[in-house]
Symmetry: C2
Subunit: 267 residues, 2 copies
């Protein structure tokens, strides 16, 4: 394939035994939020491809001879295209290496795992996913709050505020309804539009809001407030990069229920 970096392909009888690829969830950032299985994969990997500025303690879990390859965005440079990442992990596994592709959070959630899985399988490479703690769960844990609360919310929606170039922006608001907790990823840049459309669906202005910035990392901040104030809070607290936005629409705020409660109170 032309997207593979150049390396000589040996004749079949000279090919090394195929290695393997593990898509490993690194969790939200803190080294101790990796799973034991993820830590074990880091220890035994021949090579680890990582792209975020992960906690140095995470990379320190690698084995003594493990090669560490940064495939992310250098300051002032573009990040690697996904196709190029697919190509280098496949090439390493075809050379016989046990490859770890370290991914933020859980590899299955907004993680481009489908493309890496497909690339591996197309080449007959054994591939494993090691799940991880996703940002919403870590954010709620750090904020000391549950994501679902019996009698108030019975569903959690993880949605993204980000679309690939040329695609329409995802409409997060279509998931909002009484009984739902919304956890929005990559939504900081779209917060004004999202807030407006959430309120238009009928979400209460004072729906509880948590903005979890750099969850479990050195710069962690938890900002709480009301949904209506989301855009202003992001400006006020200078939130730019990586944040999970969590807001919930409790069932008790359902108009029908509220009306009934009011009727009872007035009776």
């Amino acid at each position: 394939m032309s997207i593979l970096p150049s390396f000589s392909i040996a004749a079949p009888h000279e090919m090394p035994a195929k290695g393997s690829i593990a898509l490993v969830g690194a969790g939200p950032g803190a080294a101790d939020l990796l799973t034991l299985r993820a830590a074990a994969r880091l220890r035994t990997a021949d090579v680890i491809f990582y792209d975020r500025l992960v906690d140095p303690e995470v990379l320190a879990m690698a084995g003594a001879t493990t090669e560490l390859v940064f495939v992310g965005k250098e300051v002032g440079a573009h990040s690697w295209p996904q196709e190029q990442i697919n190509a280098v992990i496949v090439a390493a596994a075809l050379r016989g290496q046990n490859v770890v592709r370290l991914k933020s959070g859980d590899p299955g959630i907004f993680g481009r795992a489908a493309e890496e899985l497909e690339a591996a399988r197309m080449h007959g490479i054994e591939v494993e996913i090691v799940p991880g703690v996703t940002a919403a769960m870590a954010a709620a844990a750090h904020a000391g709050m549950p994501l679902t609360t019996r009698g108030e919310t019975d569903a959690l929606v993880l949605a993204t505020g980000h679309a690939r170039e040329g695609d329409p922006m995802p409409d997060c608001a279509r998931h909002a309804k009484p009984g739902v907790t919304l956890a929005l990823y990559m939504a900081v840049g779209q917060s004004a539009r999202i807030t407006t459309s959430l309120l238009e669906t009928g979400m209460p202005e004072d729906a509880p809001l948590t903005i979890a910035v750099e969850v479990s990392k050195a710069g962690e901040r938890m900002i709480t407030g009301r949904l209506v104030d989301l855009p202003a809070l992001l400006v006020q607290h200078k939130v730019k990069g990586c944040a999970a936005i969590i807001t919930s629409w409790p069932k008790m705020a359902e108009p029908g229920v509220a009306l009934e409660a009011t009727a009872k109170a007035l009776a």
Copy 2:
């Protein structure tokens, strides 16, 4: 409080220093899917309250002097009421113990965390949540599939098929729409009703379906098929207890898009 088990309350000046409570996510079952932080809390706990038949390897991570207390359902007996669990964890912390309340999956998701948090805070006890890998993520990882796929799904909904006694059954189908992956917890008993209502919302009969039974535990099974066959598959494979049901409605199955594609193909 009358719900507290009887123990003598010392005068304030004789009270022991308060302990703490950690609500710790045990992950889906396998011991190596705990986070490093969860493992550390098990090691240093004075007492661990657990309720599911967790992997014995998980409990083996406890410290040498850690007390292990089962607060779950014995064969043929009822499980502990939530109020009683709240009471015993609070009582232990008030006695000065560092308490771990070990919970399946992630404590914040369908885990009754709100009630335990409230009980702890009402007594001024320091409380921490340690996040964990929730069943849907482990199930998808074990099935080797992502939960969101760029261009097909941009939201993941975790919903429950179970309601408390007297409450109306949750309507999982209201979350189904093109672009959504649904992960249903505690839905096995309601599968016929749920399948019917999902199909009524317009979900394709052949929407991809994964039934993850006893994820990461000894009896793990992955059953795949089509949404329309969910009830039959549960019968055929004798699935009764703990299973996560994952199905997705890819955007490309949206009628408008399908029509457009067909029109192009015919042109």
